[in-house]
Every structure is written in structure tokens, then in C-alpha cells.
Symmetry: C2
Subunit: 452 residues, 2 copies
């Protein structure tokens, strides 16, 4: 086992292919359905929203999908991202565990999101698209697409969930620095946004609403396409560059993870790190435990139903089978904006249903507490989303101490918290609480799931 604290891969070892878990699944993913006919949809149905190259990735079952050279060129700026051994944290916890974290905060927007923003912008540009509309929760996805758009010369419009828009004005300025236009959602710029505002003028917004707005803008113009920062198969595919690097870095470390931990909102950060390790479990009989971590206030995998549902609140998307809290479910305005989504990526839901992963939920305050402990020892202030993974990794390390066993723990530090200092300020001022959703509202949202 290496005694280093940082495992860097040479630029020459940047992965050449993404890993497509669809090739290794014991059962295929349930089909995506047309909301009207309830029949499986085909590639052409998605053509108004996405370029065909991305649609083909969405349905591909090839294990290895080549990363285009212009994408690798941009990746090279921050990839391969570092894998760290958290030695000072281990010492502080007095744990025999070996704690590793893959750090995605070194990217242009400070999170894992550019891993898919860059190829999405590339494929859109290649298809002659002029503008991309999208939504953003915490702002990390919008920033990433803004960056990718600026690299490939695409106009970018971002619908930002209102609670984040208000909490994170600097994320907005960041997107504008890259030349994107950022709009608070629900907005007056779409008919769906106007409809929501008419009914709920003080709506906090949600990813589901913002998705509806961006889809509406894209569907209304031939030159405009839509881009999603998570959930879809091709988005998760692009993120696997992260887990592939981690596998190579564990070779450098002369170690292998017993447990892999990542937070889940839409599922792409989780899939990016975990899917290549699930692939190793499936193909090479490895026994790594894979743990998805979500907020107690938006517990899609741990309290949701595995059922067909809409991806958005406005019911403009096809129906996908996923763990869902119901598309009308409105999570409270807690500080991990990237985890406030009613659904879960179909692929993540599927591997959960197949028993290939575990899922746990942690409350907000315990996550901030873990993030601050991590920061004081490792010198990186995590994004509130990433704090969920930090919490679970610390809990696992404490279990190792209690059991007297040394397990190798790998977690995804999916982003830094430099744009989230208001959340930390609120935490220190005692203003944060363990917000909860309304049980009655959840029951109503689940009762409203479409009949399939």
C-alpha cells in the first residue's frame, strides 16, 4: 500500500472511453414511455430536444464508448482529477480505516458537472445547434454548461431554481462571466413558468419546474436544444470518466475500495464514481459495497416509490421508471440545492432495485458538521451536496474503529463549497435546521403518480 496522500494520473492516462453500465446489467433497463400512448419511445421522439449522437448514447448497450478527442482536449485541463488519501482526517477520527476521496472540485465550475457539460456542448456544436437551454439547482450544472458553451461557442440560457438563485447570487455572476444568461425559475419567460407563478407567486422553484421551462424553450425553436445535467443515461455515461480514473488511481495506491460512497440528487455524481466499480463487482466478482447518500429532506431512494413518473413538474418529459417522490413533491429549501430533485436517474434506480447498491439518508446538520470536520483536517470546504458523502464516509470510518477493522473507503468529493459560504454562515449562526418535508404532501404526490 502506498504511503502517499495524493494519487495523480499522468495526462497520458486520461481515459479514452466512457464506461456504459448498460452492457453489464443482469436485466435491461425498463423502456422510456410516451406519456400519451404509454408505448416505448424511439430515438426520433427525442430529436427535438437532443442531437442524435447523444440520443444514440442514451440507448446504447456498448460497454466502451469513445471520448471524442476535442472533449479529451478540454478534459485535460483538470482531468485526471486527484485521488486523495485523507490521512489527517483518519488520524483525527482515530480510525484504522483508509479513507480516500476523489476530488472533482478542481474542475472549471468546481464540481463534477463539466464531465458531461463538455461532451454535451461538443455534440450539440457538431450537430449545428446555436443555443442550449437548461436548468440548474445549486448552480453547478449551469456554471458548467456556461463554461462548456463558451469553449465551443454556443449560447447558453440557464433557468436557475429560485431558492438557489436567491441564496447564491455569485453563482449567477459566475455563469455570466462565462457569457451565459441566467434566469430565476419559475420565470415569466415560459408559459409553464407563468402558470406556476400565477398559482404560487412565492414558489421556491424546483428542479422539476426549471426542467419544464428549459424544455419548453428548446422545444419551441429549431436552433435550440436542451441539456440536462443529470438523470439521463448519456449524462451518467459521461461521468464515468471519474470512476475509471479512480480505478487506475487505486492501482497506483496499491489498494482497492471495500466501500464506495457518493451523494445522489439526480444520480450522475454517484453513477460517475460508482458504476465502474459496480462493473468490477459484476464482471470480476469484486465485493465492493456501493452506497448512495441522499438528504433526509428529499429521500428519493430511501422513501420514494420505484414507478413510472415524469421527470419534470410540468409533465413535458417522457415517463421513466425511477425511484420518485412524485413529480409534484416540493422539497423544503435546504442548502444542498443539487439534491432537491423528486426523482432519480433510471439507471441508479434500476441498480438499486436489482440490489447492486445500498442507500442511506442523512439530515442537513449532521452533514454540515461532517463537512466542517473534514475541512479543518483536509483543507477543502466541501459543497453542501458533497457533505452527505463526507458524513457517510466518516460514519463508516467510525464503524471501522468500533469494529476494529481497516476497510478502504472511497468517497466522491463532488465539489467545493466556495459558492456555498452563505450556508456555512447560516450554520455557524445556528440558523440551519433539519428541515423535513410534509408527509401528507409526499403521500399526495405519490398518489398522483401516472397510471402505467
Amino acid at each position: 500500500m502506498s504511503d502517499r496522500v495524493k494519487f495523480l494520473l499522468d495526462e497520458a492516462r486520461l481515459p479514452t472511453h466512457w464506461y456504459n453500465i448498460a452492457a453489464d446489467l443482469p436485466e435491461p433497463l425498463p423502456p422510456v414511455l410516451h406519456p400519451g400512448t404509454k408505448q416505448p419511445i424511439g430515438p426520433d421522439d427525442l430529436a427535438p430536444l437532443f442531437p442524435m449522437s447523444l440520443i444514440l448514447q442514451e440507448v446504447s448497450t456498448e460497454r466502451e464508448i469513445e471520448i471524442p478527442e476535442p472533449v479529451r482536449d478540454v478534459y485535460r485541463q483538470w482531468r485526471p482529477s486527484p485521488l486523495y488519501r485523507a490521512r489527517r482526517l483518519e488520524q483525527a477520527l482515530g480510525t484504522p480505516a483508509r479513507i480516500y476521496y476523489k476530488y472533482e472540485g478542481v474542475s472549471p465550475s468546481g464540481s463534477h458537472k463539466p464531465n458531461t457539460a463538455v461532451p454535451q456542448a461538443f455534440y450539440n456544436k457538431e450537430a449545428g445547434v446555436r443555443k442550449i437551454a437548461t436548468e440548474t439547482g445549486a448552480g453547478q450544472w449551469g456554471s458548467s454548461l456556461a463554461f462548456a458553451g463558451s469553449v465551443f461557442g454556443l449560447e447558453v440560457q440557464v433557468f436557475m431554481v429560485r431558492v438557489s438563485y436567491d441564496q447564491k447570487p455569485y453563482r449567477r455572476a459566475f455563469m455570466e462571466t462565462f457569457g451565459a444568461r441566467c434566469v430565476s425559475s419559475p420565470s415569466l419567460e415560459t408559459s409553464f413558468g407563468r402558470q406556476v407563478l400565477a398559482a404560487t407567486p412565492d414558489s421556491n422553484g424546483s428542479l422539476g419546474i426549471a426542467i419544464s421551462e428549459a424544455v419548453e424553450v428548446a422545444a419551441g425553436s429549431d436552433e435550440t436544444k436542451y441539456a440536462l445535467g443529470s438523470v439521463l443515461n448519456h449524462v451518467l455515461l459521461h461521468q464515468t470518466v471519474c470512476g475509471r480514473e479512480a480505478l487506475a488511481q487505486f492501482d497506483l495506491a496499491d489498494d482497492y475500495p471495500d466501500v464506495v460512497i457518493a451523494c445522489t440528487g439526480g444520480g450522475s455524481n454517484f453513477a460517475g464514481l460508482a458504476f465502474p466499480f459496480i462493473g468490477e463487482n459484476l464482471r470480476h466478482g469484486r465485493g465492493t459495497r456501493i452506497v448512495a447518500v441522499e438528504p433526509v429532506a428529499c429521500p428519493t431512494l430511501t422513501r420514494g416509490r420505484y414507478a413510472y413518473d415524469f421527470g419534470d413538474t410540468g409533465h413535458m418529459t417522457p415517463l421513466v421508471k425511477m425511484h420518485t417522490l412524485g413529480s409534484t413533491f416540493m422539497p423544503p429549501g435546504f442548502h444542498a440545492g443539487g439534491l432537491r430533485y423528486h426523482g432519480m436517474a433510471p439507471l441508479v434506480s434500476h441498480v438499486r432495485a436489482l440490489g447492486l447498491i445500498d442507500a442511506v439518508a442523512h439530515p442537513q446538520l449532521a452533514c454540515f458538521e461532517a463537512g466542517i470536520l473534514f475541512a479543518r483536517h483536509e483543507g477543502i470546504v466541501p459543497a453542501p451536496e458533497a457533505n452527505h458523502a463526507v458524513r457517510e464516509a466518516i460514519d463508516e470510518a467510525i464503524r471501522c474503529r468500533e469494529e476494529g477493522v481497516s476497510r478502504a473507503i472511497l468517497f466522491n468529493l463532488s465539489g467545493h463549497g466556495y459558492f456555498d459560504m452563505q450556508a456555512y454562515t447560516d450554520y455557524f449562526a445556528g440558523k440551519l435546521t433539519d428541515q423535513s418535508y410534509d408527509e401528507q404532501e409526499l403521500a399526495t404526490a405519490l398518489a398522483g403518480l401516472p397510471a402505467v
Copy 2:
């Protein structure tokens, strides 16, 4: 010449020694004087403020000073920092120049400052110190010392220049995340702060005032020492880890810089990158042009006088010979808080006086414009301080285009701008101007220089 975009050094090649330019200077540095006697001071005079190990580094003329292993252990988390080739920016500028930047934003506080915060905390801890008092301008130094204090178990109190304290509340939360206490300066906690507030209740503060406050706190307690984030010889020494890495990285790149550019406030960021290259010029006959960049609104090297002056506004420090605008000079509240200092590091002033470096000044708006151009192509939003180096590097690349020559340009991207989005927001809103100082005030400040 390598066709790569990123030059990473293996962890094993982390420098083992800092480079002390004092060993290679054609003339020794003028002595530091006692403000009362005007006689050279000795190590003992500094003992109330600093541990002896740092004082000995301050006066050392050994070329190589070993980096203690516990310091290298902490450095390893983010060092060696990457050297980038800015290929997309080159393309956008249509320049034949090869533009390289050393990126210090990967550090725990997002700037070069931890390079000295970590050893300073280490030496203080080793000397049995319990608490460190310091000042901070833009907040990067305070954040860095907060981090270093948390690693070595030291209490940290930070006097933050009021204009930055108000502009950057999140920097404060960041310091608190690392467990430090942050106070707006001028404050009511020191007699000098109370004196300034009595005379100027709405004082913007300045580094000079904040230094006086921190020195007062340190001088008043046996268990408390003072730490400075720039200016002093030992601080500049610690920063040379940056330039030493860059030298090794240019070997990897199979190239060598014709021009080295860095911004200067107190001088440590500049010295960290430039001094090892000046050493190569002096010892190996290299002809690299070295350029210090400062703001037009605080033009210490380009408009100041090379004379003995106090380092602080309260006249508690010894007298040092440096380029100075006068210790009573109050720069306008522009957004590069880290460059708002009336003086300049004696070593930087000395190499300037010896003709070993050039100096230029750029106005604020042109610097932001350059930073945004850089961000849109390179994906990193620079700190406003770093924008000064970006501006000069772009100007040099344009000169290369006009002259039809391909020079290799290296600049120090000393920090990211994630905590400076208010400045970018103001820039986009058209609220930033090219603020200037008052010529009369400068004349008065210079007239008030102490007679030596």
C-alpha cells in the same frame, strides 16, 4: 517542445528546499533599522513578534533552506501545483506566443498564501506559541493562516481590512470554517484601532492599519506571536517553492520562459515565482525578463519612492528600505484588496533598484476585462489580484503577435476568484471604475517619510 496543456510534477519531485535569493544578490539588502535609534536591529529585537527559527530565516544568506518534513507533508496535498499551457487563450488571441501559467488556486485557501502560512504555523507551534494574530487584505492570507492554524492546532485571530470585510462576507465564513476568529479592522479591540476609528469613523481600513492592530495584540502577550502574509524575507523565501516547481515543470515542457510576470501587493506572490528565475539569470546567465505588475491605484513600484519607511500605519514596525507611497497613503477601495499596500517587500524593492526586474501598472477595468477573456477560454475565473498578471501576459502575447515573434510567457495565476464574484457582479453592472488615488495625498504621504 511538449504538446501538452498541463505539466504536473510527481509528488516525489516536491522541492526539498526553498531558494534564498539573498545568497545571489550582487549587493546585500540594506539593513532594517530601529525606528528610535535608526540603528540596524538584531534578531532579538524581533523576538517578541516571531519565533527565532523564522527570525533566523529572515537574516539568512544561505542559498538553500530545507523545508521541514511536516511542512512538506501538508504541502503535498496541493503541491506541486500545476503549470498550464494556455492553448485556447493563445488561439483566441491569434498569438505566436507560448503562454504558460502556474496555478496556485488549487491550494486550500485558493491562493499562493498557504505556501508560507503552513511553515509559519509549523515554526510557531514548534516554538510553543499558542495563538497567532495577523492581518488580511483580500482575505486570502487570513484564510490560509486559519487553515494552517487548524492543521497545527494554533488559535488564529485575523484583523481583516474593513473594505474587504464588507465586500467579502464569505471569506470571513471561510476563516470561521477553519476555526479562526475574524475582526473588521480598524477595530475596537486595540488601542490603535480605537484611535483610527475616533479620527475616521468610516475608515475603509488598510493593510497598514490592520498590521498595526495585529502587532499590538502579539506584542501584548507572551503566548501570542504575529504572522505576516507578505513583505518579509522569510515569507518571500517560503513562496519560492512555486518558482522552483515551475523551473522543473519547464523541463517537462521542454521550454523556458522569456518573460515571467506576476502581480505585486506586498511582493510575496511575485517573489515566489520570480526569484528562482532571477537566480537563474544571475547564476547561469539566463536573460529572462521579469515583470512585476501592480494596480495604477496603488503604484508602489512605479510611483513610490525607494526609501526607509514603516511597514504599518501605526508606526509600530521597524524601518525598512522599500518602494513606498508613504505609510499614511490610503489607496482607494478597489477590488484587488491584496494589492492595497503602501509599501513593497524590501527584497522586491531591492531587485527593482538593482535593475533586475521591470515594473508596470494597470488600471482596474482593463484587468477585469483580461480576467474575463481568460476565464472564457481557460475555464478559471481569476482573483482580481491575479487579473493584473493576466492583463500583462495578454498584452505581452499581443506584442508577440504584432512583432511576429514567439516568446514563452509565464505568469502566476496566484488565486481563483470564487470569493470575488461581487467584484465581477459590479463589473458586469458597470459599477466599477478606474479609481485613482489623490495626488495631493500621495505627495503629503511621501513628504511624511521618516528622516533616516
